[in-house]
Amino acid sequence: MIVRLLLLALAAALAVLPFVASSHLIFLVAMIGSTSIMVAGLTIVVGFAGQISIAQASFAAIGAYGTAQIASMAGLPHWIGLPAISLITAAVGYLFGLLSLRVADHYLALATMALCAIVQLLLIHLEDWTGGAVGLAVPPLEIGSRVMTRPVELYAVIMPCAGLTIWFLHALSTSRIGRAFAALRMSEVAAAAVGIPVLHYKSTAFALSAFFGAFGGGLFALLTTYLDPAQFGILESVRLIAIAVIGGVLNPFGPVIGSAVFVLLPETMGALGRYMSLVFSLLLLVFVVVSPQGIAGLSARFRGLR
């Protein structure tokens, strides 16, 4: 009941925000929205399904560059291009997940890291397609004849998507699919023994993580309007993992909470902003040791439920 009231209050606040807040704050909240969609993919693959993935930045890159280039090279509108590239990335994610048949655990983590490195190299060297090291301008979102470049307009597109993503995480975690993910996180042997096709579900988890990575990446591209390959390396993957872990990797709201911390904290730190990565590293360390369930898991800890 309290959770529902809080959610209603949050939704109301987000609906009112564009009318009262500065353009900068609206941009930041939209950034929280798009980041949380990218992170939602990690929540599924790392949190729900218990697989380590250091490839999220590369899925985001495919979504971001794909969204930009489908619009500028094929001339298709973003509302077709963004979902299309997300679905394609999901297929890539599924195929990548099949790799887990051959490699598991630490080696799978290394393979995801290699994927991330390869995609970043491709971004730099496939200059005709990606603009190379210089980067790439993203064509603006157009709906009808209206060009959406103001933060408030993108906010109106991104926030409902983020809301749907949270709902999807909630629905997933309370379904047979979410339970199958939990099963393979805790015991693959037992999962297979009750008839759960482990490989298929691992691949599905990677497919979903790729989908949300790409979708969030595409929205991120629209918001920032310019893409730089330096934004999509292994460090970015690690940053996304840190957001997921600090937010809480087993909770549908984890990605939003984590993204809010990571986007808003540097804004409030003023001159200390340059030590941000140190602060985040320490935060990550503290949460891994003290509360592996992240901020979302803290309330349950205090209530003594877990």
Binding site: A171, T174, R176, R179, M186, A193, V194, I196, P197
Partner: protein
């Protein structure tokens, strides 16, 4: 569901130089309780892992009602109606007892991601039925009051019963129980025997029971196979096995605790 007959045909498996199972053949009649006994390292658990597809045999095969199980991945073998429990329990320890059983029911819940995302009628119907079935199964093993307890917080005897409920949720025709009585107190072992007999008589399952605890094995089994160093040492009714001199020498005589 109809009980299944299990045929194990000259099954062998080698781990490096060790022959863990050597040309073992066993026929298990439908709707019967068949026990496999033998000292530690006799190959009992290896046999279960071969039947359920965790290991692939070096030679030989396993047939369920005339269809080969050998070569199928574990989840497909489960789908054919073979469920199991584990020697050291393999529960989803951070989930509730109820969720453990619901995961056992996974195969029977047909809906996909669309139905769950949009909470379509197919989702609600399947989840409602599953919740009811889970409740029945928990009641069957006497854990209905523990439905919300985390599996890892249950006592050992309760964990074994929860594993049994989860295995039953799969909808098996053949149930493999790997040392279900190990570590149970006398009264718990007695309850277990009663449950196993009910599973055969009321649900009509075929049971393959692996155990050390002679009290349970002798009471419930129709036939017993004795393994020793990966080979079949003897086979017969409990009385025949009990009076077999080889068995007494290899197993019963050497282990006073088990008598």
């Amino acid at each position: 569901m109809r009980a299944a007959a299990l045929t194990i045909e000259s099954l062998s498996i080698r781990f490096g130089g060790l022959v863990a199972l050597d040309e073992v053949s066993i026929d298990i009649a439908p709707r019967s309780i068949h026990a496999i006994i033998g000292p530690n390292g006799a190959g009992k658990s290896t046999l279960v892992n071969l039947i359920t597809g965790i290991y692939a045999p070096t030679t030989g095969r396993v047939m369920l009602d005339g269809e080969a199980l050998t070569g199928l991945p574990p989840h497909r073998i489960a789908a054919r109606g073979v469920a199991r429990t584990f020697q050291n329990t393999e529960l989803f320890t951070e989930l509730s007892a109820r969720d453990n059983v619901l995961i056992g029911l996974h195969r029977h819940l047909g809906y996909g991601m669309l139905a769950s995302t949009f909470r379509l009628p197919a989702f609600s119907r399947a989840e409602r039925d599953a919740a009811q079935r889970a409740e029945e199964l928990l009641a069957l093993v006497g854990l209905d009051t523990q439905a919300k307890t985390m599996a890892g917080d249950l006592a050992l005897g309760q964990q074994r019963r929860l594993e049994l409920a989860r295995a039953l949720a799969v909808g098996p025709r053949l149930l493999l129980l790997d040392e279900p009585a190990a570590g149970l107190r006398a009264a718990e072992a007695e309850d277990l025997s009663t449950v196993l007999l009910r599973l055969r008589d009321e649900i009509g399952l075929t049971l393959l029971l692996i155990d050390h605890v002679m009290r349970v094995v002798m009471r419930v089994s129709e036939r017993i196979t004795v393994l020793n160093y990966g080979r079949k040492l003897a086979e017969g009714t409990p009385e025949e096995v009990r009076s077999n001199p080889d068995v007494i020498a290899a197993y019963l005589g050497g282990a006073p605790d088990d008598a």
